[in-house]
Symmetry: C2
Subunit: 362 residues, 2 copies
DNA sequence: CCTCCCAGGAGTCACGTTTCTGCATGATCA
DNA sequence: TGATCATGCAGAAACGTGACTCCTGGGAGG
């Protein structure tokens, strides 16, 4: 009777609370909670009645209270190692955008949302948000953020295999070595005698594995390595390095560029030196950008399949959050795809392997 | 004395709570809270002691409990209208990526984090996260999500001026009409006699305003409009529309493309028809992509300055969250920038107006 | 010597849920 | 007919904070 007047504050002040719904429906708080969450044992009539009243009052459960009570927030952190003060790195823009998009989709489909967080260990932001787990893109060697998160008992899944002893719950990556070896074989089969590499000075796993594979391949076929390195986060340095590579006395007749903008940079450099692509110079770069389908000539690209990676990372993370923890790290390798276009074929292609965005020429 | 044994659960089970810190420091919960938040009146000695103990125990305050108590979560929603089942639209990829990056930076600098949320009114995800406010990119006419958020009393700031009576707290946009008029004048000054438009079939504000400005300009200078429309979310349709535009009997000698991929599509179409750029065809497109600096020839682009927009949107939103609510909508117009390159100059440029791909921008 | 005041800190409630426990009420069964 | 049991629901204890109220000395002023 007189106890229902404990509903003093919530009713008029802000949004309707569970108490208001209970009072309006003439039932207890327990019944409302059970009815809305499909939990307890209630007849369908009561369930419907409560739901209707809740709808009428515009009731939305408080996410904060639910999180506090259940310990689950439905939030997943997404963090990327950065080279400056910006939250994402610039070089892998298309890759990251695609990967983040797929990750967001996959998370939403399972009822989770993604929170973009900085890779810096500024605790004030990280500890202000209740996370169920975190996706880390390209974690550095002994990432303090990852260590701290694992110490708190949160699952962490990385895009890119962790270097050193980084204790991630699971990771997803491409087989970068196989991709590079395959790609170099493709160039050699197209007639390349000396293949050059445009690579980065950073020590991340992608750059390291790819460069190592290149060197191994050179050793195997008995070619002297011809490569230029530059800091991958500086787009101007990339254009300069592309120019340097083609200005060398031992100029390569084919080049693979590890980073997204390398294709246009190499194409511009080739024009400056009067080199025709693909007649004088074969070109491949690693990119997710669709512009390479319509450049003159279209450029063969290696796709790392960021959408599949983003999806896989989130699936593994949510599995770890909800399911049983196997204890040992789970590893998943996503195949790459070589999208062959004109720039890596000595003769005009007879069978088009690429998916062209334009009506067929000739 | 014997009441301190109420610290029964928290101490061993999970992370350290505020009670554990209080017990370890030999003070009360109040003192710990005050010491860590710099609130009450405590001597520095006590404050330091408590902080040290908290540090030693690895204490991190529970974000959920704090949110529940204070009503502020430090989370900002970021949502984009979508044309498919993906969370972001595809056509404005570079724009959105840049804008989101700037928004994330600005939010982090003020202690907030961004949560990526779908534009669909799937309430289960939206109501599962406690938001302090939301950024909406390109809200549709009577966006149900915006309406619902405003009904809940949350501030909403939109990128793109709201159509109809959408009750946003504030908005940020470019002056699209002025940008298009200016750009058309630029093309006319370069010698264009008949300027064509590549536009979209969607009804969003950007497309509508830009197209209207084009039609107005045509009327003013007495030119018959020459344009093709296509669904902007379909990249293949864009290539086809570009081809159609150049195949017309009243073929334009200059084209402005409203969307990011239009530049490469138009360039490819021009090559198919044997048109030289800029001699036979002047080209401008709206894009944030840096590839247009190195295409053959480089293409003039209209930049909407997404970084400035992203920053402005977040600043306005956080101001609304923290500060006083003025009640009336705040509007902010960001100027656009025409990056003039070879494709829109009849004669080789003597003075380079374009900004090359240097990292420092804005 | 008494009073007042203030620094310093302890107790306690409330935020809005979820969930465990438990109490009625009828129906079933030996 | 009384014991057992499933059903339908109410009470109340947390979850971990923040903030308000109140208590207790000790020094200063009268």
């Amino acid at each position: 009777m007189s106890r229902t007047d404990t509903t003093r504050r919530g009713s008029r002040q802000g949004r309707a609370g569970i108490r208001d719904v209970a009072a309006a429906a003439g039932v207890s708080i327990t019944t409302v909670s059970d009815a809305l969450n499909g939990k307890g044992r209630l007849p369908d009539a009561t369930r419907r009645h409560v739901r209707e009243v809740a709808e009428r009052l515009g009731y939305r459960p408080s996410a904060a209270a639910r999180t506090l009570r259940t310990g689950k927030s439905g939030l997943i952190g997404l963090t990327v190692t950065t080279y400056g003060d910006e939250p994402f790195t610039f070089t892998e823009f298309a890759y990251f955008a695609e990967m983040a998009r797929a990750a967001t989709s996959a998370a939403l489909a399972r009822g989770y949302a993604l929170v973009i967080l900085p890779a810096t260990s500024r605790h004030d932001v990280w500890s202000n948000v209740a996370l169920d787990g975190t996706v880390v893109v390209d974690p550095s060697d002994h990432d303090p953020v990852v260590t701290e998160l694992v110490r708190q008992g949160l699952p962490v899944v990385s895009d890119g295999r962790p270097a050193g002893t980084l204790p991630v719950t699971a990771w997803v990556d491409n087989d970068h070595e196989a991709a590079v070896l395959d790609l170099l074989d493709h160039l050699a089969a197209a007639g390349a005698r000396r293949i050059g590499l445009l690579t980065g000075t950073t020590t991340d796993t992608y750059t390291r594995l790819s460069t190592t594979a290149y060197l191994r391949w050179c050793e195997r076929v008995g070619q002297d390595p011809v490569y230029e390195s530059y800091p991958a986060h500086d787009p101007c340095a990339g254009a300069v390095a592309a120019d340097r590579l083609l200005a060398r006395p031992d100029r390569p007749d084919a080049v693979y560029g590890l980073f997204d903008p390398n294709g246009t940079d190499l194409l511009a450099a080739a024009r400056r030196y009067g080199l025709r692509v693909p007649e004088d110079l074969l070109l491949v770069c690693c990119s997710e950008s669709t512009v390479y389908a319509t450049t003159e000539p279209p450029i063969t690209t290696l796709s790392l399949k960021p959408r599949r990676i983003g999806t896989a990372v989130v699936q593994l993370l949510i599995d770890a959050i909800e399911g049983i923890d196997t204890g040992r790290p789970v590893e998943q390798v996503i195949p790459t795809e070589l999208i062959v276009r004109t720039s890596s074929q000595r003769r005009p292609p007879r069978t088009t392997v690429s998916a062209p965005r334009s009506p067929a020429r000739d």
